[in-house]
Amino acid sequence: MSEAIIKLDHVVKEFKSKDKKKPMRAVDDVSLSINKGDVFGIIGYSGAGKSTLVRMINALERPTSGSVRVLGQDLTGLNESGLRPLRRKIGMIFQQFNLFSTKTVAQNIAYPLVLDHWRKDYQERRVSQLLKFVGLEEHANKYPSQLSGGQKQRVGIARALATNPEILLTDEATSALDPETTGEVLDLLQQINRQLGVTIVLITHQMNVVQKIANRIAVMSDGRVVERGDAYSVFAAPKQEITRRFIATAISGIPDAERVVDMRRQWGGRIVTVLIRQKDAQNELDNSVVPSSGQNISGLIAKYGVSTNLIYGGIDTVTGYAIGAMTYELAGEPSVIDGFLGELSRDSDVLDFGTAQDPVDYDTAVSTPLGGLKAHPAGNGDTSETGGYGNADNADRADTLAGNADDAARSTSADSDGKEEQA
């Protein structure tokens, strides 16, 4: 059990809008708790309110209502000068780096130390230590304009870490960087989390960023947290359409409708997609569990002797566990194939797209896996979100497929603490 280092409780943030009567609600009743040592990814499209949300953690923005507790202190009661000591324990890095353009790299990094009244020789030692940590020793006396984007962000990171903060807020820190530099910066952030034990709150619209380093995820849409959980579970069993869209940008797995048509045309046999989940996925919001899937394919293929061709798929790793989908063409006796699929679908999610002669409609295939959905919602009975797995819009169909709400006693409210254990 980890302690909550950041706790947002029913936080609302409204801004005055041009239409004066109705304020714009940027953050709408968000409750989150972030544990010490987490790399907590908050993902959403621009305008979803995630930047406003993260700015309430160091009180650059004040909530309209609700409370924000950070490192055991309630920020809502503190004024600007009362916030200062706390802010020195919360580093922040930005999309546009926000370095002081008339200060050198070393002066930029020393700035928080000057604010903290460090002795000059301590400052110098700390700055060279930080420069070494981010690998910029030879650039100490350069100005930010002489550095590349990735180097600028490293300076930003060094500056944010100067006063040994316990929390690092990163606001789209990699969005202005190319993919290679993004990877380097993410490695650095991971190192900061693991070696220095800094809790990281990561705001991004790039799902691959979250996939790479986050251990917990919240998905924001229109100011609300619509999905939340450990990273593996959110990737393995997304409940919301928006989450699925994000995941599709990071993990390729289930073929789209056009691809399926092509595959049926190109391959004579039955086209079947098996979802891969290395372990069970748990949803934090309704406590539902989606079991692992696709763990015994090879064994069953051997057992039934079906002839298979692996024709499409992708497996990715999230927090060290495999997630993805494999698409096979199955050929042979229809009865053998049926037997094989019957046993396979007992433990795994299998989407059956049929054959060229006997095709299955794409939406039907992705929303009604063979053997039924494996999700077991145990929440308050509101299971309308428990839809299929594809990228298709299948919300209507989801009603008829809703799993059994069998254990009301286990239901928890959406704003309870994150209870799953963390390493």
């Binding site: 600007e80 000591p85 926000n98 100005y143």
Partner: protein, 244 residues
């Protein structure tokens, strides 16, 4: 005539010596007066630049900071200051001198002389500077200010260590521009006995039909402006080079 040659020679304007000018004034008398005028001008300009410059910087920072969405936003204060600055700034300085005379009398105790000239100059310079400062602070990246806030810097610290340094290049150029405006004002202040080069040029040059005297004053002012502008350009260039 002899003294005239010395003066122009010392200004390194050799060609002037070959132009015959109708000057029947005695330069042995004019010369010390010219030096006194230069000293008066420099005194007025320097004091106004320092005092008005600092007051204007403060007022400019307040104007910038109280703007909606800025460091200490306060739309009421912003609007009041904005209107005051807009009222004072367009008044021609020569009119302003006359209009403010009662106040000058109260504050300085007299309404003629150098001190009496400096007071209205400072007021006008303060308002002029404030607008220049505000305009040059607006382009400062708000993200940088936010970064300093996130590190726990106080508003005052942010103004001194982030806001002004980030805008320093353009601010130096703004102050060079201000220097020229103040020099312009100082010439007009001659009218109320402030003395200075402007007064010298009008009294002993223009009114005595002696272009040599007028031009002597003009050239000194041109040189002053050139020197100040060149220094400002050099400093600003050095700072701006870091940022670009």
């Amino acid at each position: 005539m002899n003294a005239f040659n010395v003066i122009t020679g010392s200004l390194a304007v050799k060609s002037m010596t070959t132009i015959t000018l109708a000057s029947d004034q005695d330069w042995s008398i004019l010369k010390p007066m010219l030096f006194q005028s230069i000293a008066q001008t420099l005194e007025m300009v320097f004091i106004t630049l320092v005092v008005g410059g600092i007051l204007g910087l403060v007022l400019g920072v307040i104007l910038y900071g109280t703007r909606p969405g800025n460091l200490f936003q306060n739309s009421v204060i912003y609007r009041i200051l904005d209107v005051i600055v807009n009222i004072v700034r367009p008044i021609p300085f020569i009119i302003f001198l006359a209009a403010i005379q009662p106040l000058t009398m109260k504050v300085v105790g007299t309404s003629i002389g150098t001190a009496a000239a400096i007071f209205p100059m400072i007021i006008m310079a303060t308002f002029a500077t404030s607008r220049l400062v505000e305009q040059n602070l607006v382009p400062v990246d708000r993200g940088v200010i936010e970064a300093a806030r996130s590190m726990g810097a106080s508003t005052f610290t942010i103004v001194c260590t982030v806001l002004i340094p980030e805008a320093l290049g353009p601010l130096i150029l703004a102050y060079a521009f201000l220097f020229i405006s103040i020099l312009d004002m100082s010439a007009m202040a001659g009218y109320i006995g402030g003395g200075g080069l402007g007064n010298f040029a009008i009294s002993y040059g223009y009114q005595k039909f002696d272009p040599a005297v007028t031009w002597t004053a003009v050239i000194i002012m041109i040189v002053l402006v050139q020197v100040v502008q060149a220094i400002a350009n050099m400093l600003a260039k050095r700072i701006l080079k870091r940022q670009k």
